[in-house]
Structure formats: C-alpha cells, structure tokens
Point group: C2
Amino acid sequence: MLMRLYYLGPHGSFTHQAAQAAAQQYSKNGDSVELSACANEREIVTHVEAGDGWGILAWENNVEGYIAQNLDRLIDAHNIAGIDRLSVNVEFDAFVREDHAQLTEVSAHPHGLAQCTQFIADNQLRLVPAQSNTAACENLQPHQIALGPQNSGELYGLETYKRAVQDYSGAHTDFLVLAPREAVVERNRLRCASKASCESIITVIPLFTGPGVVANLLDVFRDNGLNMTSLISRPIKAADGTYSFVITLDAAPWDANMQAVFREIEEHGDWVKILAVYEQRDIAHVPVAQWNLPQVGINPMLVEE
Amino acid sequence: MLMRLYYLGPHGSFTHQAAQAAAQQYSKNGDSVELSACANEREIVTHVEAGDGWGILAWENNVEGYIAQNLDRLIDAHNIAGIDRLSVNVEFDAFVREDHAQLTEVSAHPHGLAQCTQFIADNQLRLVPAQSNTAACENLQPHQIALGPQNSGELYGLETYKRAVQDYSGAHTDFLVLAPREAVVERNRLRCASKASCESIITVIPLFTGPGVVANLLDVFRDNGLNMTSLISRPIKAADGTYSFVITLDAAPWDANMQAVFREIEEHGDWVKILAVYEQRDIAHVPVAQWNLPQVGINPMLVEE
C-alpha cells in the first residue's frame, strides 16, 4: 500500500527524523511511505482529516513538557487519532563548511541556540538566529557554526565540528502518528486479536465541577486497577475556568478494566474520548532511592515554624 | 525599601511588561523597585537564591501551557518561592518606521511570527526571524514590519501600523514573582493575620508508586474540601519513570483544611513542598453550557462498535 505521511518541515528537522523512523517501520510491513513536508501543524491535521494520508505531530518533550497546542488540536479533531508513538533523541551537533574560516558566529533556530548555551559560551560565538536549524545549515557562512540534528550535516554537505553540544543530555521528544479514526479502529481489531499490550491517551471533561471532581474520577481508575503514567489539566480551547484532563493509561480500550471505567464515566455523564492507542513503550522503572529528589529547602510549608 | 527585581530581558519583552506591572504595584506600597534585565532564567534564579533581590518568571500561558523548565527550576530551588502572581495579555502590535517604504517583510522572534500567521498571509510578507521582538524593533528596515508587545513601539520610536494582529485573542501569560522563602514566610504572617484569601502551588512526590497513587493523594484533598484549579505531572529532573505533581489549590497554607492535608501527606511519607503562595485571583466561572466542548467525533472509544 502506498501511504503519504505529512510532517512539519523543513527537511532535516527533528520531526523529519521522526517521520523517517516511522516510514522505515511501516515499510518493514510492506507499505510504501511517501513523506510530505507541511509548513505548520494545522496543515498536517487538515490533510489527515481530509483522508489524504497520515500525519506526525510532536507530543511531549521530557525537558520542555507537552506541546500544548498539539494536545488541543487532537482534542478538537473530528476524525483522527494517534495510532503509533515514537521517540527521537534531541541531540544537537555543530556543523561548519569545509572551507570554513575562523569561527566567530553560531546560527540556529532560537530553541537550538537556547539549548547549547555552554558550547556557545566556551567558543565565544555571537548569536545569529535563523528561521529553522535547516535554514541555518543551508545559508551557513565560512565564519559560522550551525547547530542541528545529526542528519542535517550530511543533507547540506557540511562537516561535523563537534557532536552532541546540547547543555542537557537525555532529552527526547515523543511523536504521535495520526491516522483516520477508522484506520485506528481497524488496527485495534488486529491488536486485540493478537493480545498486543497497548497504552491509551484519553481526554475527560468532568461536566459537574467543584472540589473532589478529579479525585472522584481518578478513584474510578484506581478501583479498576488502571495505572496512569501521565496527567495534565488543560483549559478547554484555552478558555480560563474550564478544564479537560489528558490522561495516559497503561491499558488498551478493549481491556476489561478500561471498559468498566468507560461505563462508569459515561453513566456519570462526563465527556470522554480516546485520543490515541499505541503499542506499550518500555517505561523505565527507576527505584525511589535513585530518584534524585529535589531539595526540600528552607521551610517547605512557608508558614512560621 | 529599595528592591531589585530581576527579569528576562531584553527591554520591551512581555516579561519586561510583567516586571513593570509588579514594580508599579510594589511602589504603591512605598517600595522603590529597580528593574534589572538578565540574559536567561537561570541567572534570575541564581540572583534570588543569593539574596540579591527578587525575580520574575513566566509560569503558564493559557494557549501554550506551562513553561516546564521554570516549573522544574522552582521545584529544584533551595531558598526561593513565589510570592505574587500576575497576568499579562499576550498581544502583538505591528510597527513600522516613520519613514517606511513599501512593506514587504516582517521581523520578530519566531514565536511572534508563529502567532500572527493570518496577518502575515494577508499582507504577503516575507519572514525575517530575529533574536527577540525587541531586536526586530531596534534593527527595523524601511521595508519591514516588526511585531511586538504594545510598549515596544514607543521604546524604539516606531509608528503603530496595526493593533492586536495575533491570530488568537485572549491569550495571556501568568508570571510568578520570586522571593527568598523567609520573605514569603514574613508576608504570609501578615496575610494570615489579615485573613487574606490566598492560593498555593505545591509539589508532591508520592514515594510509593503503583496504580491509585494519585487517586489516593487527591482523595486527601477532596476529603478535606480543598478545590484544585490545576494539576500537572512532571518527570523529576526530566528523568523518565519518576514523577512529581504540581498542584494549584484554592487555599492558603495556614487554612485548617490545608494543614490537615499536609499532616496526612507527611504521615504517609510522601515528599511535599509549597512552591508559591499569592493572593487569590478572580477565576472565571464559566457555566458548563458555555464550555464550547470539543466534538466527540467518530467512534470515541476506538474499538469496533
């Protein structure tokens, strides 16, 4: 099957890396994937809603948190859901031209510049912001260093000056592959038949507000033995005073305990929708002793002692 | 009293607007405030930790969500806490030079460019990214339009070409004013004495993990009648598989029900710390009928019907 996969361009971005990884995975299953760059995320969602193909959206970065606007996009979408989740290491390499002169400037998207402050300070480089890391590579001058993901050097015929120059190691961004909901239902039928372990991202809007609303909601999950791996509250369409909850659960929609939870939520009259179902990730189980807890600091309760 | 307030520069940024608003508020109380621009957020926190003055940090934007790195900074801080919270409307005006020619380009920080896509498309402008909106104003060419907060035009002697050109109206960013914890304790003593209504932001790390941990935690809040206005889970120091919860509560640390909650959490052996206490905000209470709920869409449960 030929499939089109829409991603946030330009060529050589982290999203492009994620799209390439997804395409590689799907081509193993015999599908032929054609990548198609979009100028913004809205375009991606519009294409998938229109049935033109699948799409890929950044979902969560472990340092910077959720990409809230993409969360809202998926909550508001009519006919699409996440079908796969994959993770890309956010690592910046430093690139120079082969004919480079003395290096006095550094060019990248401001996010890239912000994530490599130590390298920039050590090399006493002047900042030259670019529209994207790719644009920085493409327009690189002989006295400049460009910052970007590993594959961008090769794409633009640049030399790697130094590997992994980001301040923070271990950063990664998770992406969701989006598909029409009927494609997700079809895949879920196969997953259910093969007893594949899956995770689900759901959004719940409690329509009766007041103290204890979320506690009551989470009690339902607990009492049915469901494990929650992430929880975030969001204003509905960015309107203050309204709330939805986006919850990641270590269970599939066809699991008996999940079905029981949905029955209870529906009986209670709350609004619920599944945003994504994907095969279970390996989630690190770090022993509490290694959690590297923050300092409790001075007077944690902020009242006179 | 002379007080220094550290903010994220440059001059004319949204953070600068917030710092000016805070300074105005404090000068009403007879304090004299000197604003001091920092190059990054780490510098601000370092100054406040060192007792050099107070600081101001972006906390939450209602469209883009929490600024996760600032959340982590406050969780990890040793000796500082939030003492005030204030909100700044995120509105972009379009500026031109008085001697402007035909306008063919638009210049701003990429965030600014991303938030005014309709205006840019309508005027068929070519994008010229800048290190900051302020830098765009400062270096504006006759054929360019700069985007930035309202006060930046005046600061750089520019004409306002059009007001409020952002795609999304109603966006705002909330900021926390940071102070040494002993200053917050001192202020809390006065607030408690004057029976001021306050909100608190706390962080809790449940040290016993497994299904139901958060449900059990929130039950404690519910059973003590505490109203939660925001909830987010964060990996500890961005390490996967570890979790802290950042919770905003409509109560002060000296309120009896909050004290009862803390006793229960401590008895349970979990880690807890108050990150900020500030006077109660006016939170909109939007009736459910006006919530503008998202579409439920096709097959909300993603299993065969």
